[in-house]
């Protein structure tokens, strides 16, 4: 099964500034995931100052707010996508994310939904919709 591990640095953009040692430790960790045959994909994200939020409220049209955002708890710094045998294995990998003394951050572990997780009605709708290759629905 697939799990997404979200890195939540728990600091605002300008405080997020890992040392070269912290970077090296993170690279070693990523290599460990690769060598164990579990890493499918990973990415790091730019600071929220380069991002935006699009909010939907009730009947109003969506509103766009440019970054940076200050509530550091909600910021996501990156993710890993891993393929493991159980939730426990995913959690075990999350506890191995390198931790530089004194830093605090959070890793959120979430299971990726698969087709078979949906009820049959939903699967049928998806099946019908996906009959046309996606390329044909876009204007080219």
């Amino acid at each position: 099964m697939r799990f997404m591990m979200f890195m939540k640095p728990n600091v605002s953009d300008d405080e997020w500034n890992p040392s070269p040692d912290a970077f090296a430790a993170m690279m070693a960790y990523n290599e460990e995931l690769t060598k164990a045959g579990v890493l499918l994909a990973l990415d790091g994200l730019h600071p929220s100052s380069e991002g935006a939020r699009v909010q939907f409220k009730g009947d109003e049209r969506p509103t766009v707010t440019d970054g940076p955002f200050t509530e550091s708890k909600e910021l996501i710094g990156g993710y890993w996508l891993i393929d493991v045998k159980s939730r426990d294995e995913a959690v075990e990998w999350a506890t191995r994310v390198p931790h530089v003394q004194g830093e605090s951050f959070e890793i959120e572990v979430r299971r990726v939904q698969e087709m078979s997780d949906f009820p049959q009605e939903v699967q049928d709708v998806i099946g019908e919709l996906s009959q046309a290759p996606p390329e044909q629905t876009s204007a080219r």
Binding site: G37, D83, S86, D88, E89, Q131, P134
Partner: protein, 414 residues
């Protein structure tokens, strides 16, 4: 404390192969190494719930298992002096920084373990069982359920395999020079057999059967990092990633197989396709002639790149099948080649290629031969002959839903 037990299970899944490999290097017996690793696991189950999981659980397990080895060799040493010497050497070699020492050696140890569990002195079934047990960390019961055989049969296979390895004095090492390539073939074969066993699972089977595909993929991905200079390892990984990318489209709602050209391509797993293409690139970048896995991967990648069956580069695929047929001649390869020929050059040319196989005895009971022939005859407008072929294919398939579809084809007129 249930939470800790679950954590220990997870640690075992991640670390067991490395622990067994590290201990096998010193005791030079994979059976004994597994026993010692299991003892270390039991010790962890006693200690960790109270003391907490150590910072480096893998190093803890390895150190504990090695101490167990020293104790055991000491006890035996009262009978054999040779072992006492080995025990002393072991202790002398004990590094203060266990974790660092393990890390340096771990790649070689794991590779030695793979080459041992896939040693040609063992039967194919024994290789598969031992590899899943020692490298995949699967229990005997899990292996038995996945392969639809009784647990005692697998237990016997594993214990006999360990005995065979010990009796044949199989060295715990990575084969050197030219032997490496030859022995690697046996390793890749085992991994692909595990994958295919999972791939052949049908609806209603135990969920552990399709899990075998994930096990094989994980083993393949690990091998790709252990032996990055071997193109066929990347070829096999690419082949498995691409095949797995189609897993959810290859069976219809009623359990009938859906052939490649009829599959809903929008539901192929793009992530696995991307990984497959990348793995094929790693194989090609090594600049050697394509081996059989890389050739099959290259064919699979051509299909994966085509967004519709019509966009497929059939000429390239025919050329790849030509190369594959030369390297590993087989009637099944020829039949697949014939399908590609029909797509590239028309049904007449395809039919000619299929008819060349008609006398082949190995294909005598294979339902895809008449089914392909029927398809080509229908395209040529020879409907009576096509019907007869579909009826014959229906009588040969073991899949009930497929039989129904083939019989429908047999009576349908355009």
């Amino acid at each position: 404390m249930a939470a800790t037990n679950a954590a220990i299970d997870a640690v075992w899944r991640i670390e067991s192969a490395r622990v067994i490999a590290a201990v096998a290097r010193v005791v030079r017996d994979v059976g004994l190494a597994e026993d010692l690793a299991q003892d270390a696991l039991v010790a962890a189950l006693e200690k960790w719930p109270e003391a907490g999981v150590p910072d480096n659980p893998g190093a803890w397990l390895t150190a504990t298992a090695k101490h167990g080895a020293i104790d055991l060799l000491r006890r035996r040493a009262t009978l054999e002096r040779k072992h006492e010497q080995l025990a002393r050497e072991l202790e002398d070699r004990e590094d203060p920084d266990v974790a660092a020492a393990i890390d340096d050696q771990v790649g070689d140890d794991l590779l030695s373990l793979v080459f041992t569990t896939c040693h040609p002195v063992l039967s194919t079934e024994a290789r598969i069982a031992l590899t899943l047990r020692l490298l995949g960390g699967l229990t005997t019961e899990e292996i038995a359920r996945a392969f639809l055989v009784p647990t005692p049969t697998v237990a016997q296979r594993i214990s006999r395999a360990k005995r065979t390895l010990a009796e044949a004095n199989v060295p715990f090492e990575v084969p050197a020079g030219g032997e490496l390539r030859a022995r690697l073939g046996s390793v890749l074969e085992v991994v692909y057999l595990i994958f295919n066993e999972g791939y052949s699972a049908t609806a209603g089977d135990d969920w552990l059967r399709p899990e075998l595909c994930h096990e094989a993929l994980r083993l393949g991905r690990i091998l790709a990092e252990l032996a990055p200079r071997e193109p066929e390892v990347h070829g096999l990984v690419a082949l498995m990633e691409i095949q797995q990318s189609r897993a959810r489209t290859r069976v219809g709602p009623r359990g009938e197989p859906v052939l490649l050209l009829d599959q809903d391509r929008s539901r192929w797993d793009r992530l696995l396709i991307r990984r497959g293409l990348a793995a094929l690139q790693r194989a090609e970048a090594l600049g050697e002639a394509y081996g059989p896995y890389t050739l099959q991967a290259a064919i699979a990648c051509h299909h994966a790149r085509a967004r519709t069956p019509e966009e497929t580069e059939w000429l390239r695929i025919v050329a790849l099948y030509d190369a594959l047929a030369e390297l590993t001649p087989s009637p099944v390869v020829e039949l697949n080649r014939a399908v590609a020929v029909a797509m590239a050059f028309g049904p007449e040319a395809g039919l000619e290629a299929v008819d060349a196989l008609a006398e082949d005895k190995t294909l005598a009971g294979y339902h895809l031969l008449p089914s392909v022939r029927g398809e080509l005859l229908a395209r040529l407008g020879r409907h009576a002959e096509a019907s007869a072929e579909f009826a014959r294919a229906a009588s040969l398939t073991r899949n009930e839903q497929e039989r129904r579809l083939l019989l429908e084809r047999a009576v349908r007129r355009p």
